[in-house]
C-alpha cells in the first residue's frame, strides 16, 4: 500500500487507542487502594466535613465513578484536559510547561547516545576482539547496568561539586532570565533572540543530565550495532563489494552499515520514546522540571486529571515515535518500498 495511506491509517487508529488508554488509566487509577482526599488534604482538614465536601465538589469526586469518566471524556473531545488537583491549573498548561524540558533533555541524550553508540558499535565490530572492542563492550556494559540515579549523583559530585566544570541543577542559573517562550526549549529560544549568554548557560546545564541519560541508550545501541554489523559483515554482498575493489570505508558505510541499521533504528525509536516519557530519577536529581517528575508527583498524590493527561501524552508520544520508525523503515529498506 502506498506510504501516505499507511500513515493515514495509523493516524486514524491512534484515536481509539488513545481513548482506550484513558479508560485503562482511569480504571487503574481508581482501582488503586488510595484516597485522593487523604493525599491532598491535611489530617485536620479531613475531619472537617465542610472542607471535604468542598474539595469533592470542586473536583467532581462526589459523582459516581462512571459519570466521572464520561465527564472526563466529553471534556477531552473538546480539548479540555481538566485541572490538576495539585497545581490547580489546567493540565494542558502543566504539560505545555514541562514537556519542552523533557523534550530538550531526551533529544540531546538520544543524539549523544546514538552518535557514541553507532561509532563505538561499528568500531567494535570492525576491530573485533581487539582492545578497542573490549573497551567498547566494557563501556557499554557499564552504561546499561549502572543505576541511572547513582550515575547521576556521581556525575554531580565529580563534575559539579569537586571540579566545578559544569553547573549542577536546573535548566538555567537563577540569575539568568529565561528566553521568551517560542518552543519552550531554552537552547533554541535563546538562539532565536540572539541571547548568547542564555544559550551558553542553558547548553551547559544540559550537558551533565543528557550524558547521564545517554549512558543507557549508548550502551544499548553499541551492542545492537555491533551485533548487527557483525552479521552484515559476513554477508555475501560485502564480500562482493570488497572483491570489486571498493575502499574499505565505502564498503563499511554504503554496504554493511546501511543494512545493519534496521534493528538499530528500532532500538533508537524505542529508546527515544522511553526518554520522552520522562526520566523520573534523572529529572529529580538534576532538579529538571520535566514530565517524568510531573508524572511521578501526579501518581503519588492521586491527581486524576494529571494522571490521565500524562498517560494520554505518553501514549501519543510512543505512537508517533513508533510511526516515525515504521516510516523510516519504508524509506531505508528498499525491500519494503516495492510492496
Amino acid at each position: 500500500m502506498p506510504l501516505y495511506l499507511y500513515v493515514l491509517r495509523r493516524l486514524i487508529v491512534m484515536i481509539p487507542m488513545l481513548i482506550g488508554i484513558t479508560l485503562v488509566s482511569f480504571i487503574i487509577g481508581h482501582a488503586v487502594p488510595a484516597d485522593p482526599i487523604a493525599a491532598n488534604l491535611s489530617q485536620r482538614a479531613m475531619s472537617d466535613p465542610t472542607v471535604v465536601a468542598a474539595f469533592k465538589a470542586e473536583w467532581g469526586l462526589d459523582q459516581p465513578v462512571p459519570v466521572q469518566y464520561l465527564v472526563y471524556v466529553s471534556n477531552l473531545v473538546q480539548g479540555n484536559l481538566g485541572r490538576s488537583i495539585r497545581s490547580r491549573r489546567p493540565v494542558l498548561d502543566d504539560l505545555k510547561a514541562y514537556l519542552p524540558a523533557t523534550f530538550e533533555l531526551a533529544t540531546t541524550a538520544t543524539v549523544i547516545g546514538v552518535a557514541a553508540g553507532l561509532v563505538l558499535g561499528v568500531l567494535s565490530a570492525v576491530f573485533r576482539n581487539s582492545w578497542l572492542d573490549y573497551i567498547a563492550r566494557f563501556v557499554s556494559l557499564i552504561g546499561i547496568s549502572s543505576p541511572v540515579f547513582w550515575l547521576a549523583l556521581i556525575a554531580l559530585l565529580v563534575f559539579y561539586v569537586r571540579l566545578r566544570w559544569l553547573p549542577g541543577l536546573g535548566r538555567l542559573d537563577s540569575t539568568i532570565p529565561a528566553p521568551p517562550t517560542v518552543t519552550g526549549l531554552f537552547t533554541v529560544d535563546s538562539l532565536l533572540v540572539g541571547d548568547w549568554r542564555a544559550f551558553s548557560n542553558a547548553f551547559r546545564h544540559l550537558i551533565l543530565p543528557s550524558m547521564v541519560l545517554a549512558s543507557y541508550s549508548m550502551g544499548l545501541i553499541t551492542r545492537i550495532t555491533r551485533a548487527s554489523m557483525l552479521e552484515s559483515l559476513t554477508q555475501d554482498y560485502v564480500r562482493t563489494a570488497r572483491s570489486k575493489g571498493l575502499r574499505e570505508l565505502v564498503v563499511l558505510r554504503r554496504h554493511a552499515l546501511r543494512n545493519a541499521l534496521i534493528p538499530v533504528i528500532t532500538v533508537i525509536g524505542l529508546s527515544y520514546g522511553n526518554l520522552l516519557s520522562g526520566a523520573v530519577l534523572t529529572e529529580t536529581i538534576f532538579a529538571w522540571p520535566g514530565i517524568g517528575r510531573y508524572a511521578f508527583q501526579a501518581s503519588s498524590t492521586l491527581d486524576f486529571p494529571a494522571i490521565m493527561g500524562v498517560s494520554i501524552l505518553i501514549a501519543f508520544i510512543f505512537i508517533v515515535v513508533n510511526l516515525m520508525v515504521d516510516v523510516l523503515y519504508h524509506i531505508v529498506d528498499p525491500r519494503l518500498r516495492t510492496r
Partner: protein
C-alpha cells in the same frame, strides 16, 4: 559535501565555545539569598496553601496579628496587633492594631483588612479553613480595633492566629483581582491565580514570581515599616533530592538547604564552609494501645500499658533515629510552653515493667498485633522503628506481630479505633499544648484508643475540662504538667520519639533561627 563538513565544524565550534568558561557560584551574588527546598506548594494564596514551604513564603511577605519570637515557640509576642484583651468568659478577644502600617501596595492597614482576610480564609473552605472552625465572627468596630468572637472558650486561639494562613492581606487589592470574603467564596473567589504570582501584605518582602517546580522569587518591600532585611532578593529553588541539595550547598549555589536528612549531618558538620542547625521537630511518634478490652485484649489494662512504656529502650530509639532527635516526656513536644523538662522523661526499667505485668496477671507474656503505616515520615522509617519496638517488648515477654500497611488501609482503622496497637505520629495543627487535649478521654485521638469518659478517671476528665478554658499562663502550665504526669502513669499512649530536623547553611550566613511552622524566616538572615 564541503558545505556539510563546514557546517558540522561550525556547529562543533559553537557548542565548544558555549561550553567554555568555568562555572561561577551564583550565590556569590551578595544581595540574593538562595534557599534550596523540595517544592511542595500547591497555592500561594493564604486561604488555600497549607504546606511548609508556603508558610516560609508567607512569613516573609505577610504578617499575622501575633507571632512567635525568632527561634522559640514558648511565648507569643505582638505583631500587627500591639495589644489584646480577653473577655471574662473567654469568648471575645479584642485586638488593637499598630499605627501607621502600610501594605506593599501603598494602602494603609485597617481592621477591615483583617476581617476580610479571616472571613475569606474561612469561606473558601480549603485546607486551612478548619483552623478557623472555632471562630464565630470577626468584626471591626473601628479602623484600629479587631474583635474576634469564639464559639466556645479556646485559650489556644492566639497560637492558632499565628499560623500563616491568618495572613492579613490588602482587601482592596484582593477585591480588585476578583477576591471575595462572601459565604460562597469557595465558588465565587477568583483571586487565586493572581495571588500565586503577587502578594499584598505588610511583610519585609514581596512575592514577584512563582515558576512552578522551578523557583519562587521574593524582592525587598520598600514600604516595609520595620528594619529592612539584609538581602534584596530571596529565591526558593525547587530541588527535590536531598543529595542534590547537599551538592548545591557545597558548591555554593544555594545558601540554605532545608531538606537534608540525618545521615548527611556528619559530612555537613565536617565541612568548614558549612554549618548545620539541628533541633527537635514538632512531630511526636507514639504507640497507641486500645482501651477497649474486646479490641485491645491484654493491652487494654492500664498496668500493661505502663509496663510497655517502661520497657521501651528510649536511648536505643534515639540512636536509631539519629540527628537531633529527643525523647518527649509525653505526647506534647519538647519546646512547647508547658512541656515537662527532660529530667521527667521516662527511663527504661525492665524490672518494674515485669513487675507490672505480673500485677496484671500477664507475666506469662502474650502476643499483640501492631499496625502502622509503612512509610518514612519526618526522616523516620516506620518499619525500622517497628522492629526496634518489637525487639524491646520481646524482653518483657510481649510478642509484637508487625502489621504494616498503606495509608488508606491503616488510617481508617486508626481513626475508627479498631487497632489493637498502633504506631503513629502527631504533627501539631498549631503550636500550643492545647492541641494535645485531643489525646485525652472522649476527644478525637483519645477515642481512637477507645479512651472515653466511661473508662477513665474523674481526675483526668476534670483537668481536661479545666485546661480547655483556662487562659492564665501559669495555671495552664500547672494543669498541663499534671496531665503529662498522669499520662506517663495511666494513659493508653507510649510516646517514644521526637525526630530532629537539620538545616544546612553556608558558614558566612548569620541569623539562623528555626520555627516549626515556617522553618526559617528569610528576613532574619544576613551575611
Amino acid at each position: 559535501m564541503r558545505l556539510q563538513r563546514f557546517l558540522t565544524c561550525l556547529l562543533v565550534l559553537v557548542l565548544a565555545l558555549a561550553g567554555v568558561s568555568s562555572h561561577r557560584a551564583v550565590a556569590a551574588d551578595a544581595k540574593t539569598l538562595v534557599i534550596g527546598t523540595a517544592e511542595n506548594v500547591t497555592s500561594l494564596d493564604p486561604a488555600r496553601g497549607y504546606e511548609q514551604e508556603t508558610s516560609t513564603v508567607h512569613k516573609a511577605v505577610y504578617d499575622t496579628l501575633v507571632t512567635f519570637p525568632a527561634g522559640s515557640v514558648d511565648k507569643i509576642i505582638p505583631n500587627l496587633a500591639t495589644s489584646w484583651k480577653v473577655s471574662d468568659d473567654g469568648l471575645t478577644y479584642t485586638f488593637t492594631l499598630k499605627d501607621g502600617v502600610v501594605f506593599s501596595t501603598g494602602n494603609p492597614l485597617t481592621s477591615a483588612d483583617v476581617v476580610f482576610s479571616f472571613n475569606r480564609m474561612k469561606n473558601i473552605k480549603s485546607n486551612p479553613s478548619s483552623l478557623a472552625a472555632g471562630i464565630d465572627s470577626v468584626s471591626a468596630p473601628d479602623p484600629k480595633t479587631v474583635v474576634v468572637k469564639l464559639k466556645a472558650p479556646d485559650p489556644s486561639i492566639l497560637a492558632v492566629l499565628i499560623f500563616t494562613s491568618f495572613a492579613v492581606m490588602d482587601s482592596k487589592a484582593v477585591k480588585e483581582h476578583g477576591g471575595t470574603d462572601a459565604a460562597d467564596a469557595d465558588k465565587t473567589d477568583k483571586a487565586e491565580q493572581w495571588l500565586n504570582q503577587n502578594s499584598v501584605g505588610t511583610g519585609p518582602y514581596i512575592l514577584t514570581k512563582w515558576e512552578q517546580h522551578n523557583q519562587i522569587v521574593l524582592v525587598k518591600n520598600p514600604k516595609y515599616g520595620g528594619p529592612a532585611p539584609a538581602f534584596d532578593q530571596v529565591i526558593l529553588r525547587d530541588i527535590k533530592e536531598a543529595a542534590s541539595q547537599k551538592a548545591a550547598l557545597e558548591a555554593g549555589d544555594i545558601d540554605i538547604a532545608l531538606d537534608l536528612s540525618a545521615d548527611q549531618s556528619a559530612s555537613i558538620k565536617s565541612n568548614p564552609d558549612l554549618k548545620l542547625y539541628e533541633g527537635p521537630s514538632a512531630f511526636v511518634f507514639f504507640l497507641l494501645m486500645n482501651r477497649d478490652p474486646k479490641i485491645g485484649g491484654p493491652v487494654s489494662d492500664p498496668l500493661v500499658e505502663k509496663a510497655i512504656r517502661l520497657a521501651l529502650d528510649y536511648d536505643g530509639i534515639l540512636k536509631l533515629a539519629g540527628g537531633a532527635a529527643v525523647q518527649p516526656p509525653s505526647v506534647i513536644p519538647v519546646g512547647f510552653a508547658g512541656t515537662l523538662g527532660q529530667d521527667k522523661v521516662l527511663k527504661r526499667d525492665l524490672g518494674a515493667a515485669k513487675k507490672l505485668l505480673a500485677d496484671a496477671k500477664q507475666d506469662k507474656g502474650f502476643s499483640v498485633d501492631m499496625e502502622y503505616w509503612d512509610t518514612t515520615y519526618a526522616g523516620v522509617n516506620f518499619s525500622t522503628m517497628a522492629q526496634k519496638i518489637q525487639a524491646d517488648l520481646k524482653e518483657i515477654g510481649i510478642t509484637v506481630n508487625l502489621k504494616p500497611g498503606t495509608l488508606d488501609v491503616t488510617l481508617p482503622n486508626y481513626r475508627d479505633g479498631k487497632e489493637q496497637m498502633g504506631m503513629w505520629f502527631w504533627g501539631p495543627d498549631f503550636i500550643d499544648a492545647l492541641n494535645y487535649v485531643e489525646f485525652l478521654p472522649d476527644y478525637k485521638v483519645g477515642k481512637r484508643a477507645n479512651w472515653t469518659n466511661a473508662n477513665s478517671d474523674k481526675e483526668i476528665q476534670d483537668w481536661r475540662d479545666a485546661v480547655k478554658v483556662e487562659v492564665d499562663a501559669a495555671k495552664r502550665a500547672d494543669l498541663f504538667g499534671k496531665i503529662q504526669l498522669y499520662l506517663q502513669d495511666k494513659g493508653p499512649w507510649a510516646p517514644f520519639l521526637q525526630p530532629g530536623v537539620q538545616v544546612g547553611y553556608r558558614a558566612d550566613l548569620k541569623g539562623m533561627a528555626y520555627n516549626p511552622i515556617w522553618l526559617i524566616d528569610p528576613a532574619t538572615f544576613s551575611r
